[in-house]
């Protein structure tokens, strides 16, 4: 069973007050899928006309719910939609039986929510390889229907947690044409206990009106700058899902609106950072900034090589300004680099340039930066104008504790 973990030292002080999003109602329930004494299923029911966009794991072994959701994207928004999420069991690598569970859940949920099965999206997170006891969830659908309220989003954020050490939420409001448009999102990830996986689930809702194709395009573009720029341990879940639903209930069309896109970007960035802050064993939140690469793709390759390097991550855990490991990570990344043109900073401290340590470098300065909880590692490749920023955490004994020492 999941062991209770101490709340991450990088957690926000408290869960934010999220605004009600007109056009969506939430309910949560304790179905006993695996966990006892806590909620483990959430239902969101979306009004007719809601646009739904989604991005999912690229894993070749993705779960049955993910495959089902992907097949349903782009469907007619007219009849509304529903999202059903359970924690405790991921219904991943469960063969034909897993697909059957998804079919049963989407059929039954569609019935109680009054939407066609083709507009019911599900996600499951938790232990893998065990049959999902979908009957336990179906037995609670009437209770879920009765409990649906517009204010239920914070309870939903808790119901989708597995071994997260804190619930994750974020919101923004923007004025468009004199009217207020709201965006509110919740996420789970990436605490975990063997044999669970660090699945990331994210659900974002807005009362703006955005045409479905435009919504999908915006979501995909902003995902590349937010959730695709975070890494805890380089491993990728079979179940990662991110859905964005625009109910249109505000009556404000935000298609193509820059302020709306900025606000959505902020919500996605904040939620993605919260996932890193709940990384297993994390004690440091680290931003990696790359500039001067041959192109943006190379910059991201370098950034991810640094962010995923066990040697860099353990050095950060040890508060060691070990710039040699940053050089190593750049060298191994496969992207273009010239040893004698790169510069490295820890925070504002220039550590290395011109192929050698900065002659004015004083290790105590960099060591002082490393003692902070929020760190910046900056590298300029000096060969082009490609840039990238990614976020990660350190690699600590806590990670080993969570993933090796505790058996399920």
């Amino acid at each position: 069973m999941a062991k209770t973990l101490a709340v991450s030292p990088l957690a926000p002080a408290s869960f934010p007050d999220l605004p009600v999003i007109d056009g969506v109602r939430f309910a949560s329930v304790a179905a006993g899928v695996r966990y006892q004494g806590r909620t483990d299923v959430m239902l969101a029911v979306l009004d007719p006309g809601t646009s739904v966009a989604g991005v999912f794991t690229r894993s070749a072994t993705r779960s049955a719910p993910v495959l089902d959701c992907q097949s349903k994207l782009g469907g007619d928004p007219e009849p509304g939609a529903a999202i059903l999420v359970n924690s405790g069991n991921s219904n991943a690598f469960t063969g034909q039986r897993g697909q059957m569970s998804v079919a049963e859940l989407t059929r039954a949920t569609g019935e109680i929510a009054g939407v066609p099965e083709a507009r019911v999206f599900t996600a499951s997170t938790g232990v893998i390889g065990e049959p999902l006891p979908h009957d336990r969830i179906i037995a609670k659908l009437d209770a879920l229907k009765t409990a649906l309220i517009p204010e239920g989003i914070s309870d939903a954020a808790r119901a989708i947690m597995t071994t997260d050490t804190f619930p994750k939420g974020c919101s923004r409001q923007v004025e468009i044409d004199g009217k207020t448009v709201s965006i509110a999102g919740i996420a789970k990830g990436s605490g975990m206990i063997a044999p669970d996986m660090a699945t990331m689930l994210v659900y974002i809702f807005t009362d703006a009106k955005v045409e479905q194709g435009a919504l999908q395009g915006m979501l995909s573009k902003l995902t590349d700058r937010t959730f695709n720029c975070i890494t805890v341990d380089s491993d990728t879940s079979t179940s990662d899902s991110l859905m964005l639903c625009a109910t249109g209930a505000s009556g404000v069309d935000a298609t193509g609106n820059g302020e709306f896109q900025t606000a959505l970007h902020e919500v996605m960035l904040d939620l993605s950072h919260q996932v890193v802050r709940d990384g297993e064993g994390a004690t440091k939140f680290v931003e990696i900034q790359i500039s001067g690469a041959a192109n943006d793709a190379d910059a991201k390759t370098h950034a991810m090589a640094i962010a995923n390097s066990p040697l860099v991550k353990t050095a950060i855990a040890g508060e060691d300004p070990n710039w040699g490991r940053v050089v190593m990570a750049i060298g191994k990344s496969g992207a273009a680099a010239d040893r004698d043109k790169l510069s490295i900073w820890f925070g504002d401290v220039l550590v290395a340039e011109n192929g050698w340590v900065n002659p004015d470098y004083v290790e105590a300065d960099a060591a002082a930066h490393m003692k902070q909880q929020e760190l910046l590692i900056r590298v300029d490749l000096g060969i082009g104008d490609g840039t990238s920023t990614v976020w990660t955490c350190d690699l600590t004994h806590g990670y080993i504790d969570i993933n090796a020492d505790y058996r399920s």
Copy 2:
């Protein structure tokens, strides 16, 4: 300073008796490059006519000695050759000064060894970013020359260690045309202490006669099946070097000889496994076998995704037969896979097939396998005939201890 580490539990019982290789003499000395109270420089002098082949790190930030060696490969074997290696300082990321140090060392070594500078190969391993005190090494060259003996290879194996917990050697002898041909090799890697890097250095000597171009071809081919199939933590040193020298002193031409190649393969495989067995914090030696992939390249991609996954490696440390993480690693690797066609074994225990857990699977059987010190994880993709085998170790608290907690 380097802290003394306990010898790896995966270490061989003792250092092997290595045969004398006619045509090469070794010497070791304590030059105080960084370490005190131990040898830290080795010199090997190779008779005229010795073929020299080498493979080196592909890092874009490779060290000055590596760049120098690469520029010298393929030179005329007639005048003989020399190899000078120091531990304690890697002369990596040391700018123009690093290149000057290499020039000084190769010039002075050529003089005392009686070979042209163009046939002097050097390597340095240890702390990076600090100027190599090459004067300390040059001051010991006369003593090294005096100490040269054919029997000095085991002392050389110790002189090149950094924070290795045991010296590494291996040999084979084969009969060709009624004569005995010998191969003996030494290696260092991959224990380390910040801010050192897990540099791997390997030197293999044979008294067989092999034409230089053929020797290089054989070395490159066999490296792909041995040293390029091991991983401790996915990080790549700026200094990795592997050199193979054929003195020809046996008078036996082994060019194109299958038995010789097999023996060389065995020496390289054994040394590469010893490097894994000295992986930081390693408590398990793990073979990953992939079959049924779309092609060999895909098979290796899958194998390395499993071998480098922190979640797989921590599960192994915890003796947890966590096949879900193997599924995850295959899914994220980017190589072709079909969730419903793959099969997974831990040792001889069939864990999963047909997209789900094997119905006859008993976790206790797989858990018993995981308790062993030498593990096998086998995956058949079921979609082609591509195969690959790689070797790795687990990810433990010891890795964090070595790389985060101890400061240099």
